[in-house]
Symmetry: C2
Subunit: 435 residues, 2 copies
């Protein structure tokens, strides 16, 4: 017995690693998806730039076209997997303008032009789905938007970039240096030829903007996200972290804070010290995880593959089925709510602990001088570990764990330490998260 369903035309833009898997799964599981969606999902065509480019999966030649616009205008659901800003933005606006629902995995576009797209969709009653844009295959959009709709998110800490987690994890387990692991990661396909977007934290910052917008009902512009990458992390920093009971993870932190008596949020990406006992410390390899703290629900964690063609295709197809159900049954899509519109504070207002490693002369009075600078800066010291290295001209290494203070205060104090004649070198400064 075959149920007769209404037929929905699905346009696919882009046939790269994710797109080709989406097309293959749509064709292979058509009947099963139809039963779940309550509609037959007809892959109307696949728009690409070059018809002759090699593809990862064996897709029917006749589906391919270079005429994206005609394909879009005849479709009910448009899947945008081109990436980047243009022509993705124009194509999505064309799709919305024609009344189609849009499914996209384009974090760069959402983080920079999200409000424009969501407003355009709102005006015509269309919907933009983007589960694959925030943490690959990990379902995080619906939990944040729906499951936690009756709760208040306090903080999100996410490992949202697989490449950097892979690099840091290998540095941790092998004691290897950043540059060596990076080139090996490039050879193995875990890092791209130009790894800047990953290792400098740009990719994580885009995802942080998307997650914070959703969790705090606030349009978070990408340039309000503070960002540091992992290129300065060394094997010895990881050793020192381990000795102190931490691992180093590149975290996207989205936090509700009070600044100058006003409810605000902070969105930031940086390598941080995470206690070994924290669930995020056990996220290995290229996996991603999003740790959410909510007022009522307490701590939740969502874990899975953060990237990969077929894994991301799963998230895209989940959105396609949701879009199809909405086409058939009506109702609200995932949309975007910016009703809270909280101010995003600059990094200087954020409160954390620091762990500061210094090389200082091994001479009398040095510790007193360092302690004096910290005290002058109103930075309170929680722990100090001093070790002496070298034999002829001995150098002491000071690892100072501070109490919580604003980033502005801590940063100014680190500057004062660097300027002091007793400090030979500021070896590292890392923030502590998840305590």
């Amino acid at each position: 017995m075959t149920t007769e369903y209404r037929r929905l035309r699905v346009a696919l833009l882009g046939a790269g690693a994710v797109g080709s898997q989406v097309a293959a799964l749509l064709l292979r599981h058509g009947d099963e998806l139809a039963d779940r969606a309550g509609a037959t999902l007809e892959l109307a065509g696949i728009a690409v730039r070059n018809l002759d480019a090699p593809r990862e999966t064996d897709l029917p030649k006749e589906l391919f076209t270079t005429d994206a616009e005609s394909l879009i205008l005849g479709s009910d659901i448009v899947i945008e997997l081109i990436g980047g800003i243009e022509p993705a933005r124009t194509s999505i606006l064309q799709a919305i303008g024609s009344g189609a629902d849009v499914v996209t995995a384009n974090k760069a576009l959402l983080a920079t032009h999200g409000p424009e797209l969501f407003e355009a969709a709102d005006r015509v009653g269309a919907s933009v789905y983007y589960e694959a844009a925030a943490a690959g295959a990990i379902p995080i959009i619906r939990p944040l938007r729906d499951s936690l709709a009756g709760d208040r998110v306090v903080r999100i800490m996410g490992i949202v970039n697989g490449t950097t987690n892979y690099i840091l994890d290998r540095m941790e387990t092998e004691g290897a240096d950043f540059a060596d692991v990076l080139s090996d990661a490039q050879r193995l396909g875990y890092a791209e030829a130009d790894p800047t977007a990953d290792i400098e934290g740009y990719d994580a910052a885009q995802k942080a903007a998307i997650l914070a917008s959703l969790a705090f009902h606030t349009a978070v512009p990408l340039d309000a996200v503070y960002r540091e990458g992992i290129t300065t992390i060394t094997a010895s920093m990881i050793d020192e972290a381990r000795a102190a009971g931490f691992v180093i993870k590149l975290l996207a932190v989205c936090e509700r804070i009070e600044a100058n008596g006003t409810e605000s949020i902070s969105v930031r990406v940086y390598p941080a010290l995470v206690p070994k006992s924290h669930p995020l410390a056990s996220v290995h390899g290229a996996n991603n995880a999003v740790f959410v703290e909510a007022e009522a629900a307490g701590s939740l964690m969502f874990y899975g593959a953060g990237a990969g063609g077929v894994q991301t295709a799963s998230a895209v197809l989940g959105d396609v089925v949701s879009a199809a159900r909405r086409h058939i049954a009506g109702g609200v899509g995932v949309g975007e709510s910016t009703r809270a519109n909280l101010p995003v504070v600059p990094i200087g207002h954020v409160t954390t602990r620091y762990q500061i490693t210094l090389e200082v002369a091994d001479a009398p009075g040095v510790l007193a001088t360092v302690a004096g600078i910290l005290s002058d800066g109103a930075v309170s010291v929680a722990t100090v570990v001093q070790t002496v290295e070298g034999e002829d001209e001995p150098t002491a290494r000071l690892v100072i764990g501070t109490h919580r203070a604003t980033d502005a205060t801590l940063s100014a104090t680190v500057d004062a330490l660097a300027d002091s004649s007793v400090v030979e070198r500021v070896v590292s400064v890392l923030r502590v998260e998840g305590e």
Copy 2:
């Protein structure tokens, strides 16, 4: 500026640990919830059996009533937090009959009368939401139903009962015995005065039925769920597991399998050996986690508090907001799909590895006899560890890890071992999951 929203009347049935928190949060965060739902959620009343019973939170007296039926019939959304089968079932059917949407955390009712409730809701276009019924505060219903709608779930392994995980975790970390930890857990409020539902696996079996129904689009009756509890687990079993690289966890396993050439599912609850490196092995205390393997998405894990009044209230309120949005904007609710309707196979057809611990006489030929029995039963041996205990009348302890075989085969072979004259005692038989 205050937006004028349509007013929806919300009835609350039950004011226990979860119910009183739901009421308190509804009253405290009313404006915020209204913005998210697009409707003002008016708590119309709280139906209880006894108006004078002590409550955990300070709720306005005038909200309480013993007349559940009148309250239900005047409401748009009915939250059922009474628990148990009756009068919960009758109240939910009344609510559905009057056109209200229902939110429930009642796993016992859903696992036994789920199809009746979902069919009644379907007939009138109402919806039954139940995020809090499967794993407390952990968002798992929407990820399974929506985010993975374009994928195929292969296996779910869940730690879905906080009490048993708390007990096993303390046995593991303290080397303590089951009975001691249980009575301490009762004293601390982690286990109930009558702990049967938790420690015998009945609670986990109800949740397994709910998760399997959702993941495999199949109505899974509770009596099709194979169930064993943790009362037979001893400190020495945990020691032996640790030595072999495992921890013991009470798992709810929902699996897609092929039986007699037919696509089928297996749903089962038992204490199992889980490799220490598996993410589920790191779930400590009363926490829950649901590990999902899907064809395209790969491995995902959802982690958080499995119980607790305010934590569960978060999941309930998420459902209330979803129900309210549906009242305003239309569309499909969470519903239930049974279109696949796969057969549920009995435990005998399930394939796993066993770890069998035997006490045998320390005499020549014993190992050969045991190996012969295994071989006669067509059970292939993967590992054997023999240790000798006692001095006067030495007893050997044999820990045998088998290769994968059906439960029927393994079980019959264990029976044959128990009947053998060389076997003094079958100390333990545990299945291995998550390898």
